[in-house]
């Protein structure tokens, strides 16, 4: 979904960006002042505003107020009836954080879980990832990075409720306790959180709070039904695509057949004649391209209008990628020397008793989220409101402001529930929101003053760009009869995802994009030489779900199986031996899957075979044992049974 990046690397790497922006002395900031800051310091700080906050409060310890990410008012609202609404600082798109984060907060708040609701946030600075300092749903970081944050938020609100009750009853707060959404006094008096909330939230927010001993957790760690289960089982859940303002129009875009191409000639007379079509607009698109937006009452009319366009495209200035030529080029590159990620000492391959050579080709992959990309924009002279499923509300809002000629503080981006995303709802160019803003802007200049939702068709989603890059792996491995690897010479060829993004300077080192190679070698103690080539092709690429692991896990695990088979060893035993005593989680995960499956004990019927794999990605170790159907020595699509385990 997003590169496996250590947040600890960020501040150092960002020093000089920060320096450039720090022409103004920043005071410790009250909540909601981020937008002003980003406006004066520009985009770089806008993307990592929290770092500015951190640095400035270090510089000015006297004004040691809480950071925006620590302010309860941005995250918790308690209604008079006791309902607790928790605002989450991420996009919910199926991973369940709209339930998990409220659970964490409710735990320390001692809330009544039945009264807990949740909602998504905005591009407000309060909703940045507290460690990265930018709005980000990715990298499997939500719980990891916001666990303590949401506990502290809950604990702060609880302390404020206790203080409010103490004042109301004129007793010491220390004599009071809380339970399931109420404050209780030692004499049996009781006040629901709803009755105390108004007074409590007006109190100063405590700096220091104590957190529960985990042994008293009663919500965290309990299997809990998703808060959105009812709505999502009845058509009642509103997704970004369902958001509708009065008078809202729908736009679809005719995109060029080659990325970055422009319009040569346009005849839109038939399109304009389609009933319901309100405007046909030439708009700038991602990668310097040009497209035609058709704006209409609804999607059907807009797409009918688009079908009726007569466009000739000028593709003369852009590279036209040809799959066959590209593959031949990648094959040739794989034989060349290049920068090395690993450069182990190894014996010459020729001297190894046994050898194998393998090539793997992975195609470009679209994210293909179930809910097509969409973005609704309402423009006024001095302001824009945006509704979209965004994994990165801050950068998206900043990019929208730039496209619209507005200041960042004039843009509000309301994060919408999304039908999947897999990384596509955070692109380094913010292409979806920028395109929607260009359309809204062009419509407004053409006199069309209506909120506009830009909607991608499924075909747009497949053809319109941003893919997991195509990769070619080439491996030559030498090993002995016991399966001990003596030399592993490996090349990967694939476009860099992070080059040209804000992550380049700390994720691309010596010409190697860490997102390409993650998942290679580790945890196996192999002598490996890994050469990496990043060709430049005119295809927009992006992180896709587990990023590098989408190809490296397959390659590593397949090759280990090949070695095990060539040396007549059991694939589980072979891996266990490689893990040794070093990689306990890998061992345990594999053992768990083996135990669940009956691998090695159950005799499979004719035409069936076992498959095993173990991989670590984003701090989780996952093992699989599968029972697959085999025909003519090849596995058939689909598994007969799967035993996964995660540690």
């Amino acid at each position: 979904m997003f590169p496996n990046m250590d947040h600890k690397e960020l501040p150092r790497a960002l020093q000089h960006i920060m320096e450039r922006g720090r022409s103004t002395t920043v005071q410790a900031m009250p909540r909601r002042s981020f937008l002003k800051l980003a406006g004066t310091l520009g985009l770089a700080v806008g993307i990592f505003p929290d770092l500015a906050v951190a640095q400035s409060s270090e510089a000015d310890a006297a004004a040691a107020s809480l950071k925006p990410t620590e302010q309860p008012s941005a995250f918790v609202h308690i209604a008079p009836n006791g309902e607790v609404t928790v605002t989450i600082n991420r996009l919910e798109f199926g991973q369940g954080v709209q339930t998990a984060l409220p659970m964490i907060l409710a735990e320390e708040l001692d809330a009544d879980w039945n009264l807990v609701r949740s909602q998504l946030g905005t591009n407000d600075i309060a909703y940045v990832d507290p460690l990265f300092g930018m709005h980000l749903t990715g990298g499997s970081n939500t719980i990891k990075n916001s666990f303590t944050q949401y506990r502290e938020l809950g604990a702060r609100v609880r302390a404020m409720l206790l203080a409010a009750a103490a004042t109301r009853w004129n007793v010491e707060a220390s004599t009071l306790r809380t339970e399931a959404g109420a404050v209780l006094a030692s004499d049996g008096r009781k006040l629901g959180y709803g009755e105390l909330a108004e007074a409590a939230m007006a109190l100063p927010v405590p700096q220091k709070i104590a957190l529960k001993d985990p042994k008293y957790f009663r919500i965290i760690g309990q299997p809990t039904r998703r808060l959105d289960a009812q709505a999502k089982s009845s058509g009642q859940q509103s997704f970004g695509i369902d958001f509708k303002l009065p008078g809202q129009l729908t736009a679809v875009v005719a995109r060029p057949p080659v990325f970055g191409a422009k319009i040569a000639t346009l005849d839109d007379s038939a399109a304009r004649a389609v009933k319901g079509v309100k405007a046909v607009l030439r708009v700038p698109l991602d990668r310097g391209a040009e497209g035609v937006a058709v704006v209409a009452d609804g999607y059907w009319q807009a797409s009918q209008g688009r079908d009726a366009l007569k466009v000739e495209w000028d593709t003369s200035a852009v590279e036209k990628v040809d799959s066959e030529r590209q593959l031949a080029h990648y094959r040739e590159m794989a034989t060349r020397p290049g920068p090395r990620q690993f450069d182990s000492d190894m014996v010459p391959l020729e001297t190894a008793p046994l050898k194998l050579e393998a090539e793997f080709v992975f195609p470009y992959l679209a994210h293909a989220a179930m809910e097509p990309l969409n973005c609704t924009v309402r423009l006024a002279d001095d302001r824009a409101e945006i509704w979209m499923g965004s994994q990165s509300a801050g950068p998206d809002a900043a990019a929208a402001a730039a496209a619209l000629g507005l200041k960042t503080e004039q843009v509000v981006l309301n994060v919408q529930m999304s039908g999947g995303g897999f990384g596509r709802r955070f692109s380094s160019t913010s292409d979806t929101v920028v395109e929607a803003c260009e359309i809204a802007k062009a419509a407004r200049s053409a006199g069309l003053n209506a909120p506009i939702r830009t909607l991608w068709s499924r075909e747009d989603d497949m053809r319109g760009g941003y893919y997991r890059p195509m990769h070619l792996h080439h491996a030559r491995i030498g090993f002995d009869k016991k399966g001990k690897v003596l030399a592993w010479d490996h090349s990967i060829v694939g476009q860099s995802i992070l080059t040209g993004t804000v992550f380049e300077q700390f994720m691309v080192k010596n010409g190697i994009d860490a997102a390409t190679t993650e998942g290679m070698r580790a945890p196996y103690p192999l002598p490996m030489r890994l050469t990496v080539h990043h060709p430049k092709d005119n295809v927009p690429v992006l992180w896709w779900r587990s990023v590098g692991s989408t190809h490296t896990a397959y390659v590593m695990e397949t090759l280990l199986d090949d070695i095990a088979r060539a040396t007549d060893q059991d694939p589980v035993a072979y891996r266990m031996q490689l893990f040794g005593d070093q990689h306990i989680r890998h061992r345990d995960a594999l053992q768990l899957a083996v135990d669940k499956s009956g691998y090695g004990k159950t005799q499979l019927s004719e035409g069936r075979a076992w498959g095993v794999a173990v991989h670590e990605s984003f701090s989780s170790v996952v093992a699989y044992v599968v029972e697959a159907s085999v025909a003519d020595g090849q596995p058939r699509p689909g598994f007969t049974a799967i035993w996964p385990s995660t540690l």
Partner: protein
């Protein structure tokens, strides 16, 4: 003007007769429970019932359903339909939905299957598989979908 019977109510809509019902539901009538996934009868997100049978609303023009009765997720899960209520309850019980975007369509295919069985009959695994074959879930909730259907059927005995 085209007359439509949707969820037991008559509607008059002024649209091109070729307009797929999906867009009449979503854009003209503001009923957003039925989802757009592909627009090409490939994913099942837009599934509704026409006279009790599951159809792909993205690829069925309104002109083709004028004489029929359309039922959408909003009606099927509002508690008034016995099969729909059982399916809805099983979906919640099994916490089926992840992103949830495909689930309106899944539930409509599942209810069409269960409503088509003779009273008390339990669907076989093959019947469930074939009824659900046209519904894609990008989150991969298939195992829970199948379990929830079997569970819902067992509560309908």
């Amino acid at each position: 003007m085209i007359s439509l019977n949707i969820n037991g109510r008559e509607h008059e809509v002024d649209v091109d007769p070729e307009t797929p019902i999906l867009w009449v539901l979503r854009d003209t009538l503001g009923m957003s429970g039925t989802k757009f996934g592909c627009g090409a009868a490939l994913c099942g997100a837009c599934t509704v019932h026409l006279d009790g049978e599951a159809i792909r609303s993205c690829s069925t023009p309104v002109s083709a359903v004028e004489s029929g009765k359309i039922t959408t997720i909003e009606k099927t899960t509002d508690g008034t339909d016995r099969v729909g209520a059982a399916v809805h309850a099983a979906w919640v019980r099994h916490d089926v939905a992840q992103c949830g975007y495909c689930q309106s369509g899944q539930i409509m295919s599942a209810t069409a299957l269960l409503a088509s069985l003779s009273p008390g009959a339990q669907p076989t695994a093959e019947e469930i598989d074939s009824a659900m074959a046209g519904n894609i879930c990008r989150c991969g909730t298939y195992a829970r979908i199948r379990a929830a259907i079997a569970d819902a059927a067992s509560t309908l005995v």
